[in-house]
Symmetry: D2
Subunit: 238 residues, 4 copies
C-alpha cells in the first residue's frame, strides 16, 4: 500500500558554531576572561581541546552549558499516536501540520503498527479499514462538514509531520527516556533517527544520546527489559 | 447513543489560602516587612483590602505574583483531537489516561463533532461508523495485537480523561487564547467549563478569564469574528 | 550585631487535598474509570493505600504525577548571593522584595558568611564594614540618588526575602542538587529548612527530599565529598 | 577610573538557516506537503516571499513558529543588579561567571549607576568606595576566607559576564518588557544593544524588537511615561 508510510527525519538547522559556543559558555563560568575574548581566542580554534573540556563538563552533569545549542528537525510520517507522545516534551518547540486547516484530498497516509505489520493477513485488513475510514471522511466533507470536524473520524494511525526544535540538554533527556525499550516502538525509532541524523554531523554527541540506563549504570524501570540490572543488583552493597 | 459523551470538569485541588498567598506575594515585592509577617498580619484577614491590591496588580500586567496559585482540574470526556490541542500548553501539568495501558473492553466512548451532531442523518451514520471501528479494534485485540498497537485504529473522536494543573497566570493565558471564537468549539467549551467551575468558588477571577480581545481592547486575529474591531480600527489615530 | 540575620522559612500554601490529588492523577493514567469518579471513590479515603501507590510511582521515576502538587514558601533573610542562585531554578515562581522600590531606612540587614562567622575578629571587622556601606548608601540617598541606583553599593551579603512556589517534582530536583555538599552552605541550609518544614506536615515526603547521590546510589560530581563512592566504584563490574 | 566599565554585547551564535527554518515551520502547519520537501523547495530560496509569509504570521501573534530560532549572545560588563533581573527570564539559558570559583585578583570591575555618573563629585566618592570594598575583599581572602564567602562584601555594582541564549519569541518578549521606559536603565541599554547587534545581521527583525506599548498600541503600565496614551484614552469608545 503506497499510503502506508515510514518516518523520515532531516536536521534542517543547528548553530553556526556549535562547539565554539558551548566552549565559550563552559569557560565563561570559571574564567576571569570575558566571553567575547574567550570566543575570539586562539583556544577556541582548537577543536580537540574544546571537545575535551565540553565532554568533561557534560559528564559531570552540568547540562546548562549545552542549552546554548538548539537543533531543528523536519519530521515526516509519524502517527498521531506518536506525535501526541512527542509533544508532551514541554521543553521542545513544535510546528505541526494542522488537521483543522489541511483537508485530506484522497486516501490519507498512515502508519501500520508493528504487531499488525508482521502479520500479512491483518495488514491487508488494516489497509482495507483505512480505506473505509477515508471513504467516510470524504463523505462527511462532501456533506459540508468542515475539515476540523471531519477529522474526528481519522485514526491515531494517520500520519502527521512537523518541525521540532530542542536544545542539546533536552535532546539528551529525550534520548534517555525514549530510547529505553519500555518506550513505544514508533517513538523509539523516531528518536533513534533524530539522534543518528545529528550524530552523522556531530559525531562527538554519540556517547550522550543513549537510553537512561547507560547514563545511570542501572535500570530504574518498574518492569525492566534486563538490558542492565536493576539498581539494587547493580550497586555493590554500600 | 449512550457512548456519545459530553465533557465533565471538576476542580479537585486549589491552595488552602488562595487570596492570602497572592496578597503576601504582592506585598513582599514592595514592603520592608518580611513575607512571614505580612502573611500573619491583620491585613491578611481583610478580604476586601486583599482583593483590591490583587486586582490592581493583575490589571497592570504583573502576572508573576499569581503564579503562586495552582489549580487542578479533573477532566472527563474530551476527544483526543481536543486533548492534543490542550497538551500543547507547555506550562501545564497533565496526567492523561493511557491508550497503551487501558484496553477498551467494549464500544469506546466518543465525541460527536458539532457540525455532525446538528445533522441527525449524519449523526446516525457517525454512530454506526464508531461501532465499525470498535469492531475492528476488538478483532485486532482478539488476534493478539496489544492495546498500544490496536489503538492505531481508534479515531480522534474517542474520548480521553486527565488531571490537568496550571497556575493562575497560565489559566488566564489559556482563557485568553481558547475562549477566542477562532479556537475550535470543543476546546472553547472545555476551557469555558474550567473557568466557570473555578469562578463558582472564586468569583473575583471572573473578569480575568476572558478572550484576549477583551484584555487587549481589539482583535489581533488574521480573520476576525467581529466581536471587537481590529487594532487599526479600535485605536484612535495616534 | 542585631542586623546579622538567620534564614526563616514558613510553608504558607499547599493544596487542600495533596494525597488525593496525586492519587487521582496516578490512577487516571492506568484506569478505565474517570478521574472524577476516582477522586470521589472510597479508595481515595484510604490514606495508606494512596500512599502505597504514590510511593511506587515516584520510585519508578514517573514524576509527572507529582507536578499537580505546588507548595508556596515564605522565605526571609537570605543573602542576595543565595537568592541569585535560587532564582536560577526556572521551574519555580518567585516574588522577591525589590531593592528598586524598597529603600533601606537605616542599617540594612545582612548575612555573615560561615568562614567569617567562625572567626570573631573577622566578624567584628565584617560588621563594621557593613556599617560603612550603609553610611555610603545613606549618603547617596541624601544626595538625591534614587534607591534603584543607591543599591549598587549594597553587598551580596544584604538580605532579601521572597515568596517562592514550586511543584513537588521541582522540589525533589532542588533537594537533589542543593542538599549536595558541593552546593554553597547558605543555600544548603535554606533548602534543608524548606524540606524540613514541609516534611513536618507531610512526613511521607522525607525519603524523596535527599541529595542526588542517595537517589543515584553513587556520586556523579567531578570532585566528590566521599559520602557515597563515585559511579565507577559503586557499580559492580557489569 | 579604568575599572568603571561599559556593557559589551556580541552575537556569537544563530542558526545556519534562520529564514528558511522559520519559513518551513510556518508552511508545515498549513500545507499538505512534507516539511522536508518544503525546506528543499524552490520557494525556500526566495527571501522576499519567505519574509512576507513570516512577517504575516508574526503579526497575527502566532509566535510558536519563531521558537525554532535561538540566538546566543556573549555579554560582558553588566552589574550583578542587572544580571539578577536578567536571569529572571525563565525561558532563557545562561552560563554566568561564577563569583564562587573566579577569585578577584586586584580591584574588581564595576558599573557606575547613571544618577551617580552624572555627578562628578559623587562619582569620585563612588570610585573611592569601590577601592575600599576591594581592599576589604582582599583582606578577607588573605585571612583565608574562600572566594565564595569573600564575595559577600562585593557590591551589586560589580560586573559579571555571561553567555545568554534565547529563542526569537522570548527575545521579542524581552524587548517588549525591557525596552519599556519603566525598566531600569542598565537593563534597557543591555537589551537595546542585544537587539541592535542582531538587527545588524537580520534587519527584518527591527519592527518586532520594540517596547510593548508599540505592540499594544497603548501603555498598560500603572505609571505611564506618556510615550503612548493609556488604554482607556487610546481606544475609541467601543
Amino acid at each position: 500500500m503506497e499510503n502506508a508510510k515510514q518516518v523520515e527525519v532531516k536536521v534542517i538547522s543547528k548553530p553556526q558554531n556549535m562547539l565554539k559556543t558551548v566552549y565559550t559558555a563552559c569557560r565563561t563560568c570559571y574564567s576571569a576572561d570575558s566571553p567575547i575574548n574567550i570566543y575570539e581566542s586562539e583556544k577556541a580554534q582548537d577543536e580537540d581541546k574544546m571537545l575535551k573540556l565540553i565532554t568533561r563538563v557534560i559528564s559531570s552533569g552540568h547540562y546548562s552549558t549545552i542549552e546554548h545549542i538548539q537543533v531543528s528537525f523536519a519530521i515526516n510520517n509519524i502517527s498521531r499516536a506518536c506525535s501526541h507522545q512527542l509533544v508532551r516534551h514541554r521543553h521542545m518547540s513544535f510546528s505541526q501540520k494542522s488537521q483543522r486547516y489541511v483537508k485530506e484530498k484522497g486516501q490519507f497516509d498512515y502508519i501500520i503498527p508493528p504487531t499488525v505489520e508482521s502479520n500479512p493477513e491483518l495488514t491487508a485488513k488494516f489497509n482495507k479499514f483505512m480505506e473505509k475510514i477515508s471513504d467516510f471522511y470524504q463523505e462527511l466533507v462532501e456533506a459540508g462538514v468542515p475539515a476540523e470536524d471531519a477529522r474526528f473520524v481519522l485514526p491515531n494511525a494517520s500520519v502527521t509531520s512537523m518541525v521540532a526544535s530542542l536544545n542539546l540538554r533536552e535532546l539528551i533527556h529525550l534520548a534517555n527516556l525514549r530510547l529505553c525499550t519500555r518506550a513505544q516502538k514508533e517513538i523509539r525509532i523516531l528518536v533513534k533517527k533524530m539522534c543518528d541524523e545529528l550524530v552523522k554531523e556531530e559525531p562527538w554527541l554519540k556517547d550522550y544520546l543513549v537510553p537512561k540506563c547507560e547514563r545511570l549504570g542501572f535500570c530504574d524501570e518498574d518492569k525492566s527489559c534486563g538490558r542492565l540490572p536493576i539498581k539494587e543488583l547493580a550497586l555493590k552493597g554500600n
